[in-house]
């Protein structure tokens, strides 16, 4: 009898509060599995965002700090500067990381702050009920773009990986998705690379995960996965945007 799959010790027993089929759950599990596999749970300190993942501190089986909206990278910086040998990560949504937290994100990367950022791009503000995110697609209808996102009024969706990879301090940056098994497995590899970069003290690492919000997209969970693939992926190409790491290159 062999266990093919069982729940990681990286997660607590608290059931997720996420909506049915929300991929926040998948990404949580991947991060937790990676931390377990790398053996860093006992020295990990996570930072939860304000967004649907606000309760992340209930789920990750390690010390956690809950940040103000957008400020997770600053909070993580504070923690990391106190405990440079601990593993510090943030878990953030697109509103959190790419709107209100833009400066904190850019400067954590520019500083080469040795932390890992997990960035959930679901093209919407999930928690507050479906407003436009900085990553919402052109034409996308949201609570605050009821006539569809228009470049003239709302500008263009931000590509964070592309933008941050122009910064020298960034060590590992990859965009992945979780819309099917293959991509989930690849996402996990990417997350492992990012944590490995941190363990090797290479500087700032970030994994952007194209993720779903069935509730606010108004779709079934499976339709939502298809929407990631059909609509998001073409605008947000998957791939490694920055990789300054010998070891990690072999890994990835």
């Amino acid at each position: 009898m062999a266990v093919v799959f069982q729940k990681t010790k990286g997660l607590t027993d608290t059931p997720f509060h996420y909506c049915p089929g929300c991929t926040h759950g998948i990404v949580h599990r991947l991060v937790a599995e990676v931390m377990e596999e790398l053996g860093v749970l006992d020295k990990a300190i996570g930072v939860a965002p304000v967004g649907c993942a606000v309760f992340a501190y209930e789920y990750f089986n390690c010390d956690m700090q809950e940040a103000a909206h957008g400020r997770a990278p600053a909070v993580a910086t504070g923690i990391k500067r106190v405990h440079p040998d601990k593993i510090v990560f943030t878990y953030q949504g697109d509103g959190d990381l790419a709107a209100i937290g833009t400066a904190e994100t850019v400067h954590a990367a520019a500083r080469g702050e040795n932390i890992t950022v997990i960035f959930i791009n679901n093209a919407i503000y999930g928690m507050t009920g479906g407003q436009m995110a900085p990553t919402s697609l052109i034409g996308q209808e949201t609570l605050t773009t009821p006539y569809g996102r228009k470049p003239e009024n709302n500008g263009y969706p931000i590509k964070m990986c592309e933008m941050l990879s122009t910064l020298e301090g960034a060590s590992y940056i990859e965009r992945v998705s979780v819309y099917d098994v293959k991509h989930v497995l690849n996402a996990k590899k990417a997350i492992k690379n990012a944590f490995t970069a941190q363990i090797n003290k290479k500087g700032f690492s970030m994994i952007e995960v194209l993720s779903s919000c069935p509730t606010n997209w108004g779709m079934s969970p499976n339709e939502a996965l298809k929407w990631i693939k059909d609509k998001m992926e073409p605008y947000y190409p998957l791939g490694v945007y920055k990789n300054t790491l010998e070891e990690v290159k072999q890994n990835g």
Binding site: M1, A2, V3, V4, F5, Q6, K7, T8, L11, P15, F16, Y18, C19, P20, G21, C22, T23, H24, G25, I26, R29, D180, V181, V184, L185, P214, S220, P221, N222, L225
Partner: protein, 70 residues
């Protein structure tokens, strides 16, 4: 013994596992409501043998409902 175990009360009936299973053997248990009020996912006894223990269902499940044993 091959087993796919559903931690029923965690299931939210999202059907991602259903779509992920290459053998199409997972379905929602329309006769049952779990404590959250959802029809949980299940595999009928008779279909269990078709399972190839690929773990895809568990990989796609957002709520870590599933354990796969070979």
């Amino acid at each position: 013994m091959k087993q796919v175990i559903f931690n029923e009360n965690l299931c939210k009936s999202c059907e991602l596992c259903v779509e992920a299973c290459p053998k199409h053997i997972i379905e929602m248990d329309k006769d049952k409501l779990n404590i959250k009020g959802y029809h949980p996912a299940m595999i009928r006894e008779e279909n269990m043998e078709k399972c190839i223990s690929c773990g895809f269902c568990a990989i796609m499940c957002p709520d870590t409902v599933i354990t796969v044993i070979k």
